[in-house]
């Protein structure tokens, strides 16, 4: 049993390696595909010829492309992603200083959407076709349709501008986290709720659940001990996929609330054509997403043994 799982996990990790390779290739070619001299693009438009030459030598841009890629990977392994064109600080420093803010926002939104999404999904699945069910269904539909930035702006208008209850932006203490995480979690929360509801409804109609009820078990035991365990399996996949939405949404949410995270860094970098920063952030996002997907995949195989031998 455990041997089967370890083998499954190892196969999954190995299968992710070509994708990781592809991701580094794309980020490597990003700047080289653009019209113009990559050395000048990476040094910045205001750089002196000397600085441009320095970058050219440093990255081996006069040498064959495979050698350039080797240098790129070697630098990457050492955490060297180059220097910001704007601030001249190392890309790893720029990302590192903003990472905690984004991680905090994403983690809060993830926890909120998973807990509230599953809880509300379970709640309405045992009350199908009641007022509560319809209300939650409508709210969930709104949740998957609302643009994260507009939701954020409207929360700001209501709670900051009109009611003066919460800060409108920036990162000034725990209260400034409330509105951005609500805005960011809306979509994931709604999606998880929809999946939990339909998955629970399906499970609650199955024979073994009816058997459990027939032998006189209480509602709580039937719902939580019998139905929930099976119903949660597809929810895990959907929740894992939501991470992609959260990463994308975080960029927009950070911009909306002037949250000092990686999303803001990326948007500013795109506007300033700060390619080393763009490369670094895109790479970080893609690798984070790959790792999260891998963990979800492996977790899925751990929870549902049927998957492993598929």
């Amino acid at each position: 049993m455990s041997g089967g799982f370890a083998g499954f996990a190892i196969r999954r990790i190995l299968a992710a390696i070509p994708t990781l390779f592809g991701v580094t290739l794309i980020v490597f070619f990003m700047v080289r595909m653009l019209p113009g001299d990559p050395a000048r693009l990476l040094a910045g438009l205001n750089a002196t010829d000397e600085e441009v030459n320095h970058i050219r030598v440093q990255l081996g841009l006069t040498r064959p492309v495979p050698v350039q890629y080797e240098i790129f990977i070697e630098n990457l392994m050492r955490g060297d992603l180059g220097q910001s064109v704007v601030t001249q600080a190392p890309v790893s420093y720029e990302i590192g200083t903003r990472f905690p803010a984004t991680a905090l926002l994403a983690a809060t939104a993830t926890v909120m959407s998973v807990i509230l999404g599953i809880a509300s999904g379970i709640m309405v699945s045992t009350r199908q076709y009641t007022a509560a069910d319809y209300l939650v269904t409508v709210l969930a539909l709104a949740g998957i349709s609302i643009p994260v930035f507009w939701g954020g702006l409207m929360l700001m208008v209501l709670f900051s501008v009109a009611l003066h209850l919460l800060p409108a932006g920036g990162d000034a203490g725990p209260t400034s986290l409330i509105l951005p995480s609500i805005a960011l979690s809306a979509f994931a929360l709604a999606t998880i709720e929809r999946q939990t509801r339909s998955s629970m409804l399906e499970t609650l109609h199955q024979d073994y659940v009816r058997t459990a009820r027939a032998k006189g078990l209480g509602q709580g035991v039937v719902v939580y001990r019998h139905a929930l365990r099976n119903a949660l399996i597809p929810v895990i996949t959907v929740a894992g996929l939501q991470f992609a939405t959260l990463l994308g949404g975080a960029i927009l949410t950070e911009r909306t609330f002037s949250w000092p995270g990686i999303g803001t860094l990326l948007v500013n970098a795109i506007q300033a054509r700060d390619y080393p920063i763009i490369q670094g952030v895109v790479l970080l996002f893609a690798i984070t997403f790959l790792v999260v997907n891998l963990v979800v995949d492996i977790l899925y195989g751990y929870i549902d043994p049927r998957i492993r031998y598929g």
Binding site: G22, V23, M30, S145, G248, L252
Partner: protein, 298 residues
């Protein structure tokens, strides 16, 4: 985009329906009130955008410095923006851009994604492996990030927004069509077509492709909503359609600076995005329920 926005509603599934007569499908669709509501909203938005110049008294780009940032009044139902332009007019005109971007981007994604998915599923083997590995890499850049990365390389502007959104949507179709093709390939009539020596491309077009129609209709409807959201997100970040084009996301991005005094300038363009995305979601759900409630959509 790997993001699944759909819950697989299997509970309400009625017994197996083998054949879907178009009229029966249509009848089931019309009985579904929320789906018809979605269709109505899409229809109203599209028609008003098309007839904008005939039904509205203002020009979307004409500034009026005597009427800057006015709240909603009978003369300006949605108020005016920082240049005194009528917001209702701009929101209605904005539908031309936002809806068109959504539809064209999805059409572009279909045009690339469907053939790739067909070939990948039909031939299998090395072809499939290569296409799927490439898709894995593309999908490693989650949805919005992919569109954002592309726009950062291509530069802003309407055509590039459409290209970015189309490319970021395309993998969904490759996955979807490949899945349907894999199972359709095993069908008896496909096998017999192959046994009488029909060419592969004809089998794909005549016998495999029709199987993908229902999932394609449902997925594309929902995907138009996602495309509108993505394009609006780019616009909001100032990386979409260039101002003064009245695109909904771009309008919202401008509105941020005036939020403290003038809530309406952000409220209405966003409401338009929200309503149209919700309408396409309802419409997609309605198509799915009418065609096959157990259909899985990515």
């Amino acid at each position: 985009m790997a993001t699944s926005t759909r819950a697989f509603d299997t509970v309400d599934a009625r017994p197996e329906r083998e054949f879907h007569h178009p009229l029966a499908v249509l009848r089931r669709f019309w009985r579904n009130k929320t789906a018809v509501a979605g269709l109505t909203v899409v229809f109203v938005l599209a028609v008003s955008a098309a007839l904008a110049s005939a039904i509205l008294p203002y020009n979307p780009d004409t500034a009026d410095f005597n009427a800057v940032l006015q709240g909603p009044t009978p003369a300006h139902l949605f108020g005016t923006d920082q240049l005194g332009r009528d917001l209702l007019t701009r929101v209605v005109y904005g539908g031309r851009f936002s809806l068109a971007i959504g539809v064209i981007a999805v059409a572009g994604a279909l045009a690339i994604g469907v053939p790739l998915g067909l070939v990948s599923g039909y031939y299998g083997g090395v072809v499939d492996l290569v296409i799927q590995r490439v898709m894995d890499v593309v999908l490693a850049f989650p949805g919005f990030l992919l569109a954002l990365t592309l726009i950062s390389l291509l530069g802003v502007g309407l055509p590039n927004v459409i290209i970015s959104v189309a490319v970021s949507t395309m993998p969904v179709y490759v996955r979807l069509i490949r899945g349907v093709t894999l199972s359709a390939r095993e069908l008896t009539y496909v096998e017999s077509a192959r046994s009488i020596g029909m060419q592969d491309w004809r089998i794909m077009l005549r016998h495999v492709l029709p199987n993908t129609t229902a999932p394609l209709i449902v997925q594309s409807t929902i995907q138009i909503g996602v495309a509108i959201l993505t394009a609006a997100g780019l616009g909001f970040l100032g990386l979409g359609v260039k101002p003064p084009t009245p695109e909904w996301g771009t309008m919202l991005g401008d509105a941020v600076n005036y939020l403290l005094s003038s809530w309406f300038i952000a409220a209405f363009p966003g409401l338009a995005i929200f309503l149209s995305v919700m309408a396409f979601n309802l419409l997609g759900d309605g198509f799915r329920d009418a065609l096959d409630p157990r259909m899985k959509v990515l």
